[in-house]
């Protein structure tokens, strides 16, 4: 399958990885970064001539930083799924999303960086990370740059990486509020399947139950994972009740731009988008200690 690959580099530092990647790129021929391989190998790109492996880089970590987290790009789905600090953060939406990313064997291989860099519209970790206002730290020839995740995805399998190396994900501290609630929803044939639609939400409420901050993120309903900004704006300043949830879910579905494919029609996706966003907001309310 990959019989044209002439070089498989195994750097042990980010600097070495960037040097090798750049040298190969100048030499010519199609090449890529590889970590878990669970997307790259399945894509069966026969033209590949070289690979730079990332699994020896010291990028497998989950660190608590100022109320938020920094997660190394080669941290595996299984590590996120079982991370005690992450289980206790934002109602555990990151471990929950990671736990649905394929089978156990896949989660023992697939990495958070690969999940994002592959830029599937159905990317499992994108909705919760978008809801958490996460950013990608990208290393390149000119040093490091930080790209907010809502500007990271540029199209199906297209990102803002531009040959750079995704080294870590920064998850800032959630807003301070009387109460916060988070939720992550996924619709697939099986829990471990690729999502037909996925969504995540986060809300901050004041003592009277009014929404001071809201995030709603959608997956598999456009060329990229996206935030439903209109629906978020609709919630802020309103009491989080059933009417508000229904209105926001309706608005989020209107912001979706789904396509028809083997997993579902555009109409079905739009309808399910409304359902998942409503469920997500209901769960957010519950987690924030409110009954709707």
């Amino acid at each position: 399958m990959f019989d044209r690959i002439r070089a498989f580099h195994r750097p042990t530092s980010v600097a070495q990885a960037l040097r090798l990647f750049e040298a190969e790129r100048r030499r010519g021929g199609r090449g890529r970064w590889v970590a878990g391989g669970t997307d790259l190998v399945v894509q069966r790109e026969r033209a590949l001539r070289w690979l730079v492996d990332l699994t020896r880089l010291p990028l497998g970590y989950v660190r608590r930083v100022r109320g938020g987290f920094v997660i190394g790009a080669t941290t595996r789905m299984a590590d996120i799924e079982h991370s005690k600090p992450l289980l206790g953060f934002a109602d555990g939406i990151l471990p929950e999303a990671a736990s649905t990313c394929g089978s156990q064997q896949i989660r023992n291989m697939a990495t958070i960086g690969g999940n994002l860099a592959n830029a599937s519209p159905a990317c499992d970790l994108a909705p919760p990370l978008l809801a958490l206002d996460a950013s990608a730290v990208i290393a390149g020839r000119g040093g490091r740059r930080i790209v907010r995740l809502d500007r990271f995805f540029r199209g199906v399998n297209r990102t803002a990486l531009n040959g750079g190396l995704l080294v870590e994900i920064v998850v800032p501290a959630p807003p301070k509020a009387a109460a916060t609630g988070w939720s992550c929803q996924k619709l697939g044939r099986l829990q471990s399947d690729i999502a037909i639609v996925n969504a995540a939400a986060g809300v901050a409420l004041d003592a009277r139950g009014y929404c001071t901050w809201a995030r709603i993120a959608l997956g598999a309903v456009a060329t990229t994972p996206l935030r439903a900004r209109g629906a978020e704006a609709l919630l802020v300043g309103r009491r989080l009740d059933r009417t508000a949830v229904e209105a926001a879910a309706e608005q989020a579905a209107a912001e979706a731009k789904p396509v028809t494919d083997v997993r579902g029609t555009a109409d079905y996706r739009r309808a399910m988008c409304r359902v998942l966003v409503a469920r997500a907001l209901e769960e957010c309310a519950r987690h924030a200690g409110r009954t709707l």
Binding site: M1, F2, D3, R4, I5, R6, A7, F8, R10, V34, G36, G37, T38, V41, V42, L48, W50, L51, D53, T55, A78, G102, S103, Q104, Q105, I106, N108, M109, S192
Partner: protein
């Protein structure tokens, strides 16, 4: 093509492989005679090619052989010495959990990894541990029963019990 050399441990034995840079682990394992590693879908769905990498199940069809350098692999050939059977294998026989056998090596390896992590698993944990291995003939009922029985029959860990530790304090 430029051959590369990897050093790894397979079933407890040090191995030195000369491989092509684009070789997948599944292909190299089968070429080296580990035929218990089955070729199934080759897209990471069926799990028949599962092996334990440093004790954890991975699909060898999705991993480059070069990435196994310095790692420890376990295939079904290595779960028990010689002609002996692993307790999970014994239980599979006792419970009629094998029909065509194609998915069995992967199931046994996933069960072994589970029991090492969680010696007395719930049925839900067993089902989760097998959920990445597709069986198209026996189904899952008998394998699940077999694994639960193997867990029950296993000698209890020899460490001191909490009560004894408390008594000694």
């Amino acid at each position: 093509m430029s051959e590369i050399v990897v050093h790894l441990t397979v079933n407890g034995e040090a191995r030195r492989w000369r491989i092509e840079p684009g070789d997948l682990l599944l292909d190299v394992l089968r070429r080296e005679g580990y035929w218990g590693v089955k070729r199934g879908c080759e897209t990471g769905e069926c799990g028949a090619c599962a092996v334990l990498l440093d004790g954890e199940p991975v699909n060898s069809c999705l991993m480059f052989a070069a990435q196994a350098d310095g790692r420890e692999l376990l295939t079904i050939e290595g779960v028990a010495p010689g002609d002996a059977l692993h307790p999970v294998q014994e239980a599979f026989l006792d419970h009629g959990a094998v029909q065509c056998g194609y998915c069995t090596p992967a199931m046994v390896l996933c069960a072994k990894a589970l029991l090492e992590r969680s010696p007395q698993p719930s049925e839900a944990e067993v089902r989760e541990a097998l959920s990445g291995v597709l069986c198209r003939c026996t189904g899952y009922k008998k394998p699940v029963e077999a694994i639960l029985a193997a867990a029950k029959a296993a000698p209890k860990p020899r460490g001191k019990t909490a009560r004894r530790r408390r008594a000694e304090r």
